[in-house]
């Protein structure tokens, strides 16, 4: 591999690596706007100019590749710094400088590079700024808004729609100082990945309708998380202010979602705001019709005692069943599976809804696709749940149950359907865990408020059997507890050894027990997740995806 020297530091890189990427390897940042690792190199913004020994002119770092040994590059010499100042001046002379009302402020490429490479005064004092009257807030599609005055004509957005989304709604029109981007006549930017153009836009020209004016970004707390929209499991950053989620942004994971995520996924947190929450354990008074009257709130202690007692008393009264959920973390599913084992029941299915096909493009490999509208059906089944939910949701299996435990009040659309709720309600005693106060939760004899995925740590296993960890972004409200804790307390009522559980402890226990997870530890799970060893493991999976995954890994 050829060696290149950048600012005096030499590094070996793969032949064909461009200088922007090579510089990162030696800890040097070459400022760039138009370059994006997944988009074609166009060398347009000229922000990445560097000096190369033996070349008379400065060269664009993004379009210069290291092909053979001996290239000596400088980014900290006066010529380069002067050029950077020059480019920054050019970018700003016609920029509105409306940071105070711009969503991008705080994470803006213009602000950052001005600070680092620009000058603090303007020589553009007598001329009028170029503006694009009438193009200050143009909806390009349902989720993306364009303010042409802020655009720096880097064409990242155009190239994204052409090269990644493959939909090509955007074009670069006009020329010279009037050059602008926009949609082609009759087209709208409504492809499933549309909002990614907001992410690739280095400035505030493209903003997300969903996030617009929702929060100043410096007030946002950010945690690495996983999208729960579908089984693909796009890596995201969950961004919230004091527990109020403001947006999901894709988090780079070359194995899963690369730099992207779909617009549907970005909208899924709104569910947490639109659906009423369970915030305290709740008992349903005998004879209540379950329409919101006849409840008493209670303590976790009492609630869990009640559940414990009913399970113990169930013997001879009927069956016990657990209705799992594709939204459970692996750790929660594992604990529910232990509960099922203890109760001696095989009825523990994990129903999931099917959506349209979600498809996220990836680099140099086929896109990752998903249809299941939940992030972790596979993990839940590997952890010990599984089976057909048909009898419970469509048949009369619940009527034979002395105790039916629903693991997630929001497990799917059925939790909101009157017929399905009625079917489940046939159980003599209905226990519902969950964050959502869904109709199903309202029908429960005991409703137990547990954290949603922003409020807990855990792991999900995605469509390709990759286990990925996500972090708690903020604490659960009221008396809500992470389900792992609550389940630990419940299990402790039956036997020793389940107290003071944390997701980490549960994961390590599960990994010691379940072959697919063998060798994994909570604390050193790679940031990109770990591919599970599903081909060798005995598991109860029947779907094609499992076959595909084992084919792929063999």
């Amino acid at each position: 591999m050829p060696k290149v020297t950048i600012n005096g530091r030499t590094v070996e890189v793969e032949a064909g690596t461009n200088l922007v990427d090579a510089a990162i390897k030696v800890g040097v940042q070459i400022p760039h706007y138009c370059y994006h690792p997944r988009l074609s190199v166009v060398g347009q913004c000229r922000m990445c100019l560097v000096k190369i020994d033996g070349m008379p002119k400065l060269q664009a770092g993004c379009s210069t590749q290291v092909m053979k040994d001996g290239m000596v590059v400088h980014t900290d010499v006066p010529e380069v710094e002067e050029a950077q100042r020059g480019m920054m001046e050019f970018f700003l002379i016609n920029h509105p400088l409306d940071c105070p009302i711009c969503d991008q402020a705080g994470e803006c490429g213009l602000q950052d590079y001005s600070f680092k490479h620009g000058v603090a005064y303007s020589r553009f004092q007598y001329e009028d700024k170029r503006t694009y009257p009438g193009r200050e807030r143009i909806p390009l599609g349902a989720n993306v808004l364009l303010n042409m005055n802020r655009c720096i004509q880097c064409t990242r957005c155009v190239r994204f729609t052409e090269e990644v989304a493959g939909t090509g709604e955007l074009g670069f029109f006009n020329r010279g100082a009037r050059a602008e981007i926009g949609t082609f006549p009759g087209k709208e930017l409504n492809n499933p990945l549309a909002t990614c153009v907001v992410d690739v836009c280095p400035v505030g020209a493209l903003t997300s309708t969903r996030f617009r004016f929702a929060e100043r970004v410096w007030y946002l707390d950010k945690k690495p998380s996983i999208c729960t929209g579908c089984e693909v499991g796009c890596n995201i950053t969950m961004e919230h202010r004091r527990g109020d989620i403001k947006r999901y942004k894709p988090r780079f994971n070359v194995e899963v979602n690369d730099y992207w995520m779909c617009d549907y996924g970005r909208s899924t947190f709104e569910r947490y705001k639109l659906t009423p929450r369970l915030t305290a354990p709740r008992l349903r008074a005998a004879g209540s019709n379950g329409n919101g009257h006849g409840y008493t709130f209670t303590s976790w202690q009492t609630a869990l005692d009640t559940v414990h007692r009913r399970i113990q008393e169930a013997e001879g009264q009927g069956e016990i069943a657990i209705l799992g959920s594709g939204f459970l973390t692996c750790e929660e599913a594992y604990l529910f599976a232990k509960l099922a084992e203890g109760a001696g029941t095989a009825q523990r299915p994990v129903p999931v809804d099917l959506g349209p096909e979600w498809k996220i493009p990836r680099h140099q490999r086929p896109p990752i696709k998903g249809r299941e509208q939940a992030p972790n059906r596979r993990g839940a089944e590997l952890a010990g749940l599984g089976g057909s939910a048909e009898d419970l949701l469509l048949g009369d299996a619940a009527s034979r149950c002395a105790v039916l435990i629903v693991a997630d009040s929001d497990f799917g659309q059925a939790a909101y359907s009157a017929e399905a709720v009625a079917k489940l309600r046939q159980a003599k005693f209905l226990v519902v865990f969950g964050w959502a106060d869904s109709p199903l939760a309202q029908a429960a004899d005991v409703a137990l408020p547990v954290a949603h995925h922003g409020e807990k740590d855990g792991t999900f296993v995605n469509v390709e059997y990759r286990v990925q960890r996500f972090e708690r972004a903020f604490p659960p409200p009221g008396q809500t507890r992470p389900a792992v804790e609550a389940l630990g307390d419940l299990l402790s009522r039956f036997e020793e050894g389940w107290s003071n559980l944390t997701p980490g402890k549960v994961f390590d226990r599960l990994a010691g027990e379940i072959p697919a997870f063998a060798g994994l530890h909570w604390h050193d799970l790679p940031a990109t997740g770990a591919a599970l060893n599903v081909s060798g493991a005995a598991h109860n999976l029947s779907d094609q995806a499992a076959e595909a995954a084992s084919e792929a890994s063999s």
């Binding site: 060398g43 347009q44 000229r46 379009s63 001046e89 010279g176």
Partner: protein
Amino acid sequence: MAFERVLTRNVGKPEALTYKGYRQLGGYEGLAKALKMEPDAIIDEVKKSGLRGRGGAGFSAGLKWSFIPKGKDKPKYLVCNADESEPGTFKDRLLMEFDPHQLIEGCAICCWAVQANTTYIYIRGEYTKAAAILEQAIKEAYDAGVLGDSVMGSGFKLNMYVHRGAGAYICGEETGMLESLEGKRGQPRVKPPFPAVVGAFGAPTVINNVETLCNVPHIIERGADWFKAIGTDEKNTGPKLYAISGHVERPGTYEYPIGITFREMLEGCGGMLKGRPLKAFIPGGASAPILKADQIDIKMDFDTVAKAGSMLGSAAVIVMDDTTCMVRSVARLAKFFNHESCGQCTPCREGTNWMELMLKRIEHGEGTERDGQVLLSICGHIGGNSLCALGDAAIGPVQSLVKGFQDEIDRHIREKACPFPHRRYFEN
């Protein structure tokens, strides 16, 4: 000055427009001879002749052809640059309108030399007449067997198409032209890769100017030594067309041996308009820095003009007398470059716009002391930093204005108006 006209020898002979007439005038002899030569021998001959590109950059034509990879794994193309859009330039038009077969012959020889089977002549959109004449000539050439499946019976296949541009100067830049030819927005590509490797439709491509190609049949027919004998020295050879405009008695396209002095050229077109004194001249099109009257004896070849701090470029000579306001002239040029910038790269898009606004302001008498320095600084930020050469082109006139005519800028500032007697030029 006595010399033999080469490129324009058929101008004024309407029969040259037809295939038959062109043959009778001795045409297609060069092609006939070339087809009997090895392709590499042609490249060597053209290299030896010292023929340099007439489109602006003055790059050795033979050398450029030699960059085309050998072998048949990909098709190869010749794209003839007939976009001719630089202000002051109107020489290719003459060649196409009066002697279309000469161009076809030159293209055919080039194609044989690099083994390309397709030529596109990318012609400026406004050149409707030239395009029609070329189309007609190409049709006749097909009928006569000069183009088509077997060029003059040699078995070499060659197709030729006229592709009309849609009105953008930037489509004269070679990679902008390729984009436009491929049906995309005409904007330059990053280089490398160069067109010789990845050109039209991803295949190796030669791009040459009309005049460059028109020289080729004569080189083949009469030999590199004959060609080299014309001109200043080894590196500046052959006949050259100069498009002379401005304050002269008889503006027009003139053919001279390359390296004729500006003074002789001026005499050849009847001298200064109404005998007024020469103030300045642009030796090579809108992008060439302006030369002052004291350079009147300069030899008009590539290297001498470059040494004087300007460039021969497309050899569009614009002559200005003492009534010319340099600020206004340069402001007009700046307006052109701002209008024609493709807008993809930052220094050119923003810089040309800023320069135009600033020069207009100075012309309107609203300049400040500092403007000259700021202009130079903008030029410094554009120069060498833009993606294509349009950015570099745009700064030539501006730099020469500030460096050579600072006194005129100062008068505009001091008098708070243009000191020259004319209407305010820019109303917008």
